[in-house]
Symmetry: C2
Subunit: 388 residues, 2 copies
């Protein structure tokens, strides 16, 4: 186990009807709120009304900015910064999934910065101040509700880049699994792939002696694997929705990475896909992760065999760890496929035309990943292996 520090201060308020408490939680931090959200779903299904009513009841004034798209765009972030300044807001309330939360985080750091907010994403500027943020989560997936990270896309050049700081960790996250009843199956499945990817990016490590976090990670993966099919059969299965939602937070609140070197190459490889082709991040991960696994598994057969046995209940062949390891990868891919996700670039309707450009961009700052360091050639090989 490596030395580590761990602190996650976000207050989780979890369960039925909790969105009705958002006003009182918000009132602890702000008097004038930027209410940030995405498309029409929160209005269609009543969440918007409940949130607004609760804010009003708590005497919190608000100004709205909707329209956040999946893979949130820098242009809207800039609009949000201007609006927040004009209206002198002192708190941002993100009602949505990871895209809305990440857009809010970008606004929160841009608010105090005179230059271009993109500077934070390129490393030109350092985060020293941010508006406090609260979340009403509507999609279990990104884990952004208690993370100190955000990902935003700049359309000019199609760059999808991230920022990280404890200052952008939300103050609170309100999580009512009932709000997720209306998620389309494809979005539920994409969320599951994202959650599993967050766990697996930490699981595949070269750090020795990380038994507790290995086991906790396996527990989280098994919970997703069991509950996602339940939810696809019955969209209003509260128990299963709750398991997925809470696992989505645990997957990415840093607990599972404590004391371990993490990988994150699959996320880097996927970001180029969703940056250029605007596919759902989770769907991209369902394609990239198994391809990555097939490319690297021989680096540590024991770890991949453990993954196969403990996560997928594969009966191990101790004389043939390679076979055992491959079964785990096969089951991962089959699982993604079984919940309706594409597992090839073809399935994502991504042609082979820009693979080289993407591999180039994914590695523009040098090799990516830690489990196995991947250069441009490696990334290109992974894209190519994922074509069909």
């Amino acid at each position: 186990m490596e030395n580590f520090t761990f602190q996650n201060t976000t207050k989780i308020i979890f369960g039925k009807d909790t969105e009705k408490e958002v006003g009182e939680h918000t009132a602890k931090y702000g008097y004038k709120v930027l209410l940030h959200y995405g498309g029409g779903s929160i209005k269609k299904y009543g969440t918007y009304d409940k949130v607004v009513k609760s804010l009003e009841k708590a005497g919190v004034d608000y100004v709205e900015l909707g329209g956040v798209e999946p893979n949130p765009k820098l242009s809207l972030v800039k609009e949000g910064i201007e609006l927040a300044r004009e209206e002198k807001v002192d708190f941002i309330l993100a009602v949505g999934g990871g895209s809305v939360i990440d857009s809010a985080k970008a606004i929160s750091v841009g608010y105090f910065y005179d230059g271009d907010v993109w500077d934070f994403f390129t490393g030109k500027a350092e985060i020293n101040e941010a508006l406090p943020i609260g979340v009403v989560l509507t999609i279990p997936a990104a884990g952004s509700e208690s993370s100190g990270a955000a990902v935003v896309t700049k359309m000019d050049g199609m760059y999808k880049r991230d920022i990280a700081s404890d200052l952008i960790r939300p103050q609170f996250a309100i999580m009512n699994p009932e709000i997720t009843f209306t998620l389309p199956d494809y979005q539920t499945a994409c969320g599951a792939a994202d959650i599993m990817a967050h766990i697996m990016e930490r699981y595949f490590t070269n750090t020795e002696n990380v038994e507790l976090t290995d086991r906790l990670s396996e527990s989280a993966l098994k919970t997703i694997i069991k509950n996602v099919p339940e939810v696809l059969e019955n969209n209003e299965d509260y128990a299963a929705r709750a398991e997925i939602m809470w696992t989505g937070t645990i997957a990415h609140n840093n607990l599972l990475g404590t004391g371990r070197e993490e990988d994150w190459s699959s996320h880097g490889i996927e970001h180029e896909l969703s940056g250029i082709y605007d596919v759902a991040h989770g769907a991209g991960l369902a394609v990239v992760f198994p391809a990555w696994m097939n490319y690297v598994y021989q680096h540590d057969l024991e770890r991949f065999a453990q993954f196969a046995v403990r996560v997928w209940d594969v009966d191990p062949d101790f004389k043939d760890l390679e076979w055992t390891a491959r079964q785990g990868i096969k089951r991962t891919k089959e699982f993604f496929s079984s919940v309706g996700l594409p597992v090839t670039l073809e399935g994502l309707e991504i042609p082979d035309e820009r693979l080289e450009e993407m591999a180039e961009k994914a590695t523009e700052n040098g090799p990516i990943g830690n489990f196995v360091k991947l250069d441009k050639e490696d990334v290109l090989n992974i894209y190519q292996s994922a074509l069909k």
Copy 2:
């Protein structure tokens, strides 16, 4: 799953040599520190010197109060409150295990209170203010390093009672597994029983649909079960010491209790033992918990069967869940015994003379526990079943 809120703000600083950073962490909170510790072990093994050096280097002034005993006493708490007031300290640094930390927590709330600090333990007073606390952990057991609870013993009447408030949750906890190399085997084993008990008090619940936290709890238990024997064979096994230490925190930072009704009757039953006979809390739990399990397991055979299969790798007999359930209890008791713990009151050298008095005191505020409500008669039965 029940509705819940979860927030744990303690910053964990984990790993080799981390105690040398205590000065810089402390300096963020206080200029004048009450350095609180137990017997001589921190001086004997060099931890004291490292802490003092680090405080001095960071320019932090300190005043000392050592002498905390296992099952920390109210009398020393009162002494600490007086000293802290005289010296106008603004922070308490607890260097030790749960007893030292809990003593520090009691001082931190008594500092601001004009009445008798015991009022907080009897419910006569409410915690509204507390000095901030930091921890250098030397014994993985109580989980007090990131909990918002403390247990103190009042010798007059032999009462062992607790307080709970987010205000007494430590600001930081420094955890270097190397410091635990010198723990005597018995203390290591007692710590393991305490950690396992914290998990099991949450595990045995009537709440349905708590799959994630069930699995996380099983992971934590398996980690202890695997690593404690390793440490007893080789006291300086860093990897195994680290697993135990980090699991000890996770066992009691409330994550594993999210969305579940918890039990806590075994702790209540044990508190009377260690309150009156001053036995080690972990040793008392090793006696009480299996006795409690045997008394209540028929209340939920499926849960006890799951515990047997997932935690102890019992091969289930689906036609005889009772047998399956009993195997798990048997293995639990055998495990405690195998690591050198007593599993009967006789082993603790506790006679049968005061069982009725203890049962009376344990239930003086009404039935205890939630998995099964236990009245005085039940508690007495459990004590009696644990005699030999």
